[in-house]
């Protein structure tokens, strides 16, 4: 658990972060979102003491971070930044091994862990372990960045616009990847972005920041349904909110389940239970259908979703 209490950061006379209170529960993904210069990166960098805070207190698992050795503190916090920050003179494997080596793990354990992480992040150890960062694509390099952050199994993950420099398709893939990994490892994550869609997709709770203050801290659904101010309303998009809400809801919640799963051939583009209602509606509009079959992960048809139901209960 991370607690920020009345935390302030001043650069000279400029107040970058103004007496914010924020509690991030263990295992949750808290996304700090806001326009550039709103203090979100500053807040993140205060948590691992890359920046000292000017006033207030930051507690990690109940302990004030100022009482801890900064290096020890950071070794227990994964850190992912935009543009990866991978060391160009180290191979992929050596980069991932950075923190375990700093912690002086035995070599065999490090090798084992590197293989495990590369597999987790969908990088083939045989082909990629000995490559250098500049021989990778942007997406692969950022996967290595995430693997490096997870290497020593830290409790906390700090991510500073990690996917900001990637193209839309790669970014989308990595976001899905992150959701999948988060399901497995459940790290307490603080994620900074200026992209509200990214925030809605990844967050369990979103903290919207503006001019150094937190203007709303709530679940993605509540941020969309009950924006606390006009600023938040503009940020989430006034007109676009209906579809955004639909994209938060899985099809599973609105489908009419079959009594027992049916065997049939789903095809590559079949709708899955975890897909969003927004996707289901989009497919129906495009193919001019009144209803769609829904499949589970094993490829069995488990129910149907109708256009009527979405119109009634979609939001």
């Amino acid at each position: 658990m991370i607690e920020l209490k009345q935390v302030t950061r001043r650069f000279g006379n400029v107040v970058a972060v103004d007496a914010i209170d924020l509690t991030i529960e263990t295992g949750e993904v808290c996304v700090l979102v806001g326009s550039s210069g709103c203090g979100k990166s500053t807040t993140l960098r205060m948590i691992n003491r890359l920046l000292p805070h000017s006033a207030g207190d930051i507690l990690v698992d109940g302990k004030s971070i100022t009482t801890m050795n900064p290096q020890q503190l950071r070794l227990n916090m994964g850190y992912v930044i935009q543009g990866t920050g991978l060391f160009p003179h180290w191979t992929v494997a050596r980069n991932i091994a950075m923190v375990p080596r700093l912690l002086k793990w035995p070599q065999a354990r490090i090798d084992e862990r590197v293989r495990e992480l590369m597999t987790l992040l969908d990088l083939d150890p045989a082909t990629h372990a000995d490559k250098y960062p500049q021989q990778l694509s942007g997406g692969q390099a950022q996967r290595v960045g995430v693997a490096r952050a997870l290497a020593a199994d830290p409790n906390i993950l700090l991510m500073d616009e990690p996917f900001g420099a990637l193209d839309a398709i790669t970014r989308d893939n990595l976001q899905l990847e992150m959701l999948r990994i988060q399901q497995q490892v459940r790290k307490t994550t603080v994620f900074v972005t200026h992209d509200i869609d990214e925030a809605l997709k990844l967050a369990t709770r979103i903290a919207v920041m503006d001019r150094g203050r937190i203007v709303q801290h709530d679940t993605p659904e509540n941020i969309l349904r009950r924006p606390a101010s006009e600023f938040v309303e503009n940020l989430v998009g006034r007109q676009d909110r209906g579809l955004k809400l639909m994209s938060l809801r899985p099809v599973r919640e609105l489908m009419t389940p079959h009594a027992s799963p049916k065997r049939s051939d789903p095809g590559a583009d079949a709708l899955k239970e975890d897909d969003s209602v927004r996707l289901a509606l989009s497919v129906m509009l495009w193919q001019d259908l009144k209803q769609l079959a829904v499949f589970n992960a094993r490829g069995e048809e488990t129910g149907v979703i109708t256009r009527e139901r979405i119109m009634q209960d979609g939001l």
């Binding site: 960098r45 950071r74 850190y79 950075m98 490559k131």
Partner: protein, 396 residues
């Protein structure tokens, strides 16, 4: 590699550099004197053109080799650069044989003071063939192994031929044989001065660069000071140091025992260090500060200490640029050490100034050629070192 060159492009484009060099060499070697014969050291000699020097067979062979290089380089053959490498390499390795034939044909018998010397035609041939070789090695994308092998073969062949009996009459060999001990001594002094200065200034430069990184306020004064030292003419520095060092050594007898005097190695070393500081400090500082801050930030955020960041991130990334600074400095120091002979520091400059004083050009060459050779060898070695230390491989 030639295979790649050949198969990647089915019709290799004709080379433009080698034929031009070969044609220029062909013209110059026929126009200029290949060598001269002097009855003794001082009297100006009589020049001999190509045919007169080595006879029609020799002239024919030289012309044939050059014409062959010209032809091969134009033909669209896959293996042409390997053929050219053999051709140019062998010509360079066996070049002293031309002088040997020349000496055998023209040196009057039983005149112990007569000597043959190298003419402009020979120098041009040597220079242009070397350029051809560099171009060919570049086109072959030859690895370090091949380059080293070519250099060793050519250098070895020259050493063997120059030490042989056939070239004893060559003026350079005569000058060397007159004082081989002095030559060895000059070599030692030259190396000690140049590399001593480079080593000391490297140490100083690292300290100054670190100081500049820690306290940015020092950047301008330090860079200003080392740049200023670079602007003083070298002769002036050597001269200016004489008075204070004389005063120091007469005030402190300990210094005198160490050999520190107004002239000699002490002022030379100081001046060389002063000159070496600018390239050294600038390269070290720039290399260390140009390591991207985002990388240091990532490392710091992952829990590296400043010390670990310095040794595991900054130094490895900066090393090639620092070594580049050492390379430039070394070449510069080797050249400047020749001038330091003026204040009695020893080294190859001694031969140069002695030769100038006696207007014996061969003695000047005996000092100048090894200085050039030393600089070239140092250049090659540091280039190799920097290449092997380059931490980042080429991008995919």
């Amino acid at each position: 590699m030639a295979k790649i060159d050949g198969t990647a492009a089915p019709r290799p484009t004709p080379n433009r550099v080698v034929p031009v060099l070969a044609a220029v060499a062909l013209v110059l070697v026929w126009l200029l004197d290949l060598g001269t014969i002097q009855p003794n050291r001082i009297v100006p000699g009589t020049g001999h053109g190509l045919v007169s020097a080595v006879g029609w067979p020799g002239a024919g062979l030289v012309s044939l080799v050059l014409i062959a290089s010209l032809a091969v380089s134009i033909l669209p053959l896959a293996w042409r650069y390997w053929a050219l490498l053999v051709l140019a390499g062998l010509s360079l390795a066996l070049l002293p044989l031309l002088l040997e034939v020349f000496a055998a044909r023209h040196l009057p018998p039983d005149s112990p003071y007569a000597r043959s010397s190298v003419g402009a035609g020979f120098w041009c041939l040597l220079f242009l063939l070397s350029l051809m070789l560099i171009e060919i090695l570049g086109r072959l994308k030859a690895g370090r192994g091949v380059q080293l092998l070519v250099m060793v073969v050519i250098g070895g062949s020259w050493l063997v031929l120059l030490r042989g009996a056939g070239l004893e009459s060559l003026s350079l060999v005569r000058e060397f044989n007159a004082q081989p001990d002095k030559f060895a001594q000059a070599l030692r002094a030259h190396l000690a001065l140049a590399f001593g200065a480079v080593a000391v200034s490297a140490g100083l430069a690292v300290m100054l660069a670190l100081k500049m990184m820690r306290s940015p306020a020092w950047q301008r004064p330090i860079l200003g000071a080392v740049s200023f030292m670079q602007t003083i003419p070298s002769l002036a520095v050597f001269g200016l140091l004489i008075a204070p060092l004389s005063a120091l050594s007469s005030a402190f007898p300990v210094l005198q025992e160490l050999g520190v005097r107004g002239i000699g190695w002490a002022p030379a070393l100081l001046a060389l260090i002063a000159y070496s500081l600018l390239p050294m400090v600038r390269n070290t500082f720039v290399a260390l500060t140009e390591v991207p801050e985002s990388l240091a930030d990532a490392g710091r955020g992952m829990g590296m200490s400043e010390r670990q960041l310095f040794f595991q991130l900054k130094v490895p990334l900066a090393l090639p640029v620092i070594i580049e600074g050492v390379r430039i400095t070394t070449i510069q120091a080797i050249g400047l050490t020749a001038v330091a002979a003026l204040i009695g520091a020893g080294g190859f400059g001694g031969f140069i100034f002695q030769g100038l004083g006696q207007s014996a050009m061969d003695l000047v060459l005996l000092g100048a050629l090894p200085t050039i050779a030393l600089a070239l060898v140092a250049d090659a070695l540091f280039t190799l070192l920097a290449a092997s230390l380059r931490p980042v491989p080429a991008t995919a």
